[in-house]
Amino acid sequence: MVSKEPTDEALRSLIDHFPKSSLLISKEDLIPYSFDATATFYQPPLAVLFPSSIADIQWILQWAKANHACILPRGSGTSLSGAVVPQKNSIVLSMAKWNKILEIDRNNLTILVEPGVTTQSVQEEADKLSLFYPPDPGSYKISTIGGNVGHNSGGIRGLKYGVTRNYVLGLEVILPTGQLLWLGNKCMKDSAGYSLKDLFIGSEGTLGIVSKVLLRLIPKPQERQVILASFSTLEAAAEATSAIINAALIPSALEFLDRKTIDCIEQYNPAGFPKESEAVLLIESDGHPQAVRDEIVCILKVLQLYNPLDIKIAEEPKDQEQLWKARKVAFSALARKAPTVLLEDITVPRSALAEMIRKIQQISSQYGVEIAVYAHMGDGNLHPVFLADEQNEDLMEKVYRAMKEIFLYAIKLGGTITGEHGVGLAKKEFLAYQYNKEEFQLLKSIKKILDPDNLLNPGKIFD
């Protein structure tokens, strides 16, 4: 279906159906919904709807189908792939007010939430019961669980605890046809047929609208310690990471920041990162106190082999929190460096980290494009950040070429073009390099089955 401008009559029926407070149509209201946290994409929607019931969502889906419009579910708009940038004639379906925690089941260690609940609220709620919800994206204070499910969001603890998918036990989903499904259950194991819920996790709102999420909680680790190790080269930090993994040590977080990133973070809010290093590793071990102590000793032994400039251990929660807080603002803080920052998200097998970092440095100097790097190093998930300027066409062209080369090289190393941000608009062009024709066709046919009229977030992931 090709999206077309709805008729005046159709718009009137839309306006008449919803109260003024739940349907926004003024340009002053639409402009602020024309972007997400990705640079360069911009398109105001046709309207913004705050649904008050499942019936509202079913009605708007029908309306969209009848009037050749499309529906874009949205949480807080912090996505980094253009996934919630509207297409023409999109109705943004804001789930931000569906933000209640519906049930905490202490017996089964589960939490049932509405999709607009923030990641931080879930973490805090779990913490009150000495439980733990590990997925921890940088925007956790405002990112919503619905958005996390849509992007299969990761974060700093992915190495040991995995990503959002690993904690979703069930989903309530409204299909583009209006059909309401409950997928999953409170069981820890379920082998009954295809895992339908998994299809919706990471689907970027293209297959269904998530209206409830059942999440798994785990016991809160008793103890944490954080190592801050600094190195004179990026490769030394990358090699140390590969060696830690090779030694079968799996800390809860193993993060990497380069000099440019550290400088920007320190400008925003000094966290005490060392001044003289080219790269730092932030490594967190958590669990039973004795296990943490043992793991820290082992990690320190490995680190020593790669000539660190300095090693510090933060044992106090206050100091640890300061370091993690600093780490989480890395992307935004880097925007101090350039008018336009483009954040990328490649992941490579962990043995190939040093090689990938060398390649990024080489591409940076080859194209004359400044690239900062920070990474969930333990996951092999690198975030090269292109420091660019939208107004400078020549530079943007070089950035684009450099970016493409980085993607191709990551794929060549057996990696992927996105580890946690999703494809959205930003990377759909490169998806074809990762999948062959048949695989690509299979992806498209799944969309076709679930959303035959192409109502939900069309033009994302692929055309």
Partner: protein, 453 residues
């Protein structure tokens, strides 16, 4: 004036100030209005996207935009939260200046209120004082209690009259000599004290306490009578020309070259007083003077910590031991980045138990005249604040801005909570007095602060 106007107009503003916003959303959790409505237009990144649309001529300055900019509290919490360093204050002031120039919100009632308040009353210290005296008489003979029963006064006006603060029995100049010198220690610094306008009328006692504290710490205090408004109110409400005139008047009132520092104790004023140079075009004599001025302005807490203030020594364990909490006034913690200093001072007081207030840096809803213009949102925020204050079980709430003090005090009274609202410096002054009961004091008309346990 042209340069000034261009700095404060969205259309001629340096575009990089707006482009800096990468819409990452890190500001959203800090924004009081967004947190209440969950509508993007009511968020910092939403407002900036509209400013950008206007600056890039994709949108005209509209009435809805204008209302939105007056729906923003200007609390600057977003500026603290922003890792990119977007200068929201400049964008906010430029937008409001454009709105006022466009006259898009003009209606007779608004015109009368703005002219009466911003252009007439707060422009002259004489008029403000005269108004203050009239108000004092009106309140002291009990007319204010009669007003709600007078049928010929419209309800809206009654509401506004109910918001009027209680005027102090003495203004600052009646409590403070133009020059006061420490009596028990040698002079280490010579400082000017800015008495403010609302502070002068309503909380002159805080100004007196500030002088006492400065004297205890070896500061000679120069305090010209009749200083008037600093122009902060005007700058935040798009009246930059008047703000400029008031800044000039105030700078002329002080012997700037002789002073080590200019001390302010009102958060809202301080945040404006430290940036007078922004009001004058580069290269002009006033700009030069304003730059000198800016360097010398210190918030009282900041100054005391900088000079190493003496901690009150209290040995009498029979003294009250109150639980004290602290609300960060927006223009102190976000506007001036002063968070630790008031806590250092409060924690230096022997026998108090300091309890942190959860979300202490969230706006209380007062925000200058916001509580009068947007009472619904203001009261939502106030109720949230009071609920948090209750959680602390404190008997004293400290905060360092007259607007916050008034608004929170009113809210606490309404809920019949027996919690005292005090400026941290008043508490420090009281502790000095308890520690040095025999010392002479230059203070006139002193009322003793009743300290609840």
């Amino acid at each position: 004036m042209n340069n000034l106007n261009s700095r404060f107009s969205l259309l001629s503003l340096d575009p990089t100030i707006i482009q800096k916003c990468i819409h990452c959303g890190m500001c959203l959790p800090s924004c009081p209005t967004y947190q209440e409505t969950k509508i993007e237009r009511n968020s910092p990144r939403g407002r900036i996207s509209l400013m950008r649309a206007i600056a890039e001529k994709r949108m005209d300055l509209t009435e809805l935009f204008a209302h939105e900019l007056y729906f923003c509290l200007g609390c600057l919490a977003c500026q603290t939260a922003c890792p990119v360093g977007v200068d929201y204050k400049t964008l906010f002031e430029a937008s409001r200046q454009d709105i006022e120039k466009s006259q898009i919100l003009n209606n007779p009632l608004r015109q009368i209120a703005r002219t009466a308040l911003i252009r007439f009353l707060f422009r002259s210290s004489f008029r403000l004082r005269t108004f203050g005296k009239m108000l004092r008489v009106y309140q002291s003979i009990g007319l204010d209690r009669l007003v709600p029963y007078l049928p010929f006064i419209p309800a809206k006006l009654k509401d506004m009259m109910a918001q009027l603060p209680p005027i102090a029995s003495h203004f600052s100049s009646e409590l403070i000599q133009p020059r006061e010198t420490p009596f028990h220690t040698k002079v280490r610094w010579k400082v000017g004290l800015l008495t403010g306008c609302v502070q002068d009328l309503v909380y002159s006692k805080i100004n007196r306490d500030t002088v006492d504290v400065l004297l205890y710490n070896g500061c000679e205090v120069i305090c010209p009578p009749h200083q008037g408004c600093c122009g902060s109110l005007h700058a935040h409400n798009g009246e930059l020309k008047t703000a400029q005139l008031l800044a000039q008047k105030l700078m002329d009132a002080f012997p700037l070259n002789e002073l080590d520092a200019l001390i302010t104790n009102a958060a809202g004023c301080g945040s404006h007083l430290k940036h007078f140079s922004n009001l004058f075009p580069p290269g002009t004599p006033w700009r030069k003077k304003a730059e000198e001025w800016d360097k010398k302005v210190f918030d009282i807490h900041e100054w005391l910590v900088k000079i190493g203030f003496s901690k009150p020594k209290l040995t009498d364990t029979s003294q009250p031991q109150p639980v004290v909490t602290y609300h960060d006034a927006c223009h102190l913690c976000h506007g001036q980045k002063i968070k630790n200093e008031p806590r250092i001072i409060l924690n230096s007081l022997p026998f108090i138990r300091f309890v942190e207030l959860e979300e202490s840096d969230h706006c209380c809803g007062s925000a200058g005249i916001y509580n009068i213009l947007q009472p619904e949102m203001a009261h939502k925020l106030l109720n949230k604040k009071i609920a948090k204050i209750k959680q602390t079980a404190a008997s004293i709430l400290c905060t360092a801005n007259p607007g916050c003090l008034l608004f929170i005090e009113k809210g606490l009274k309404k809920q019949q909570l027996n919690i005292q609202t005090v400026h941290p410096i008043s508490l420090l002054a009281q502790w000095y007095k308890m520690a040095n009961p025999g010392e002479p004091t230059p203070q006139k008309n002193q009322e003793k602060l009743a300290i609840p346990k």
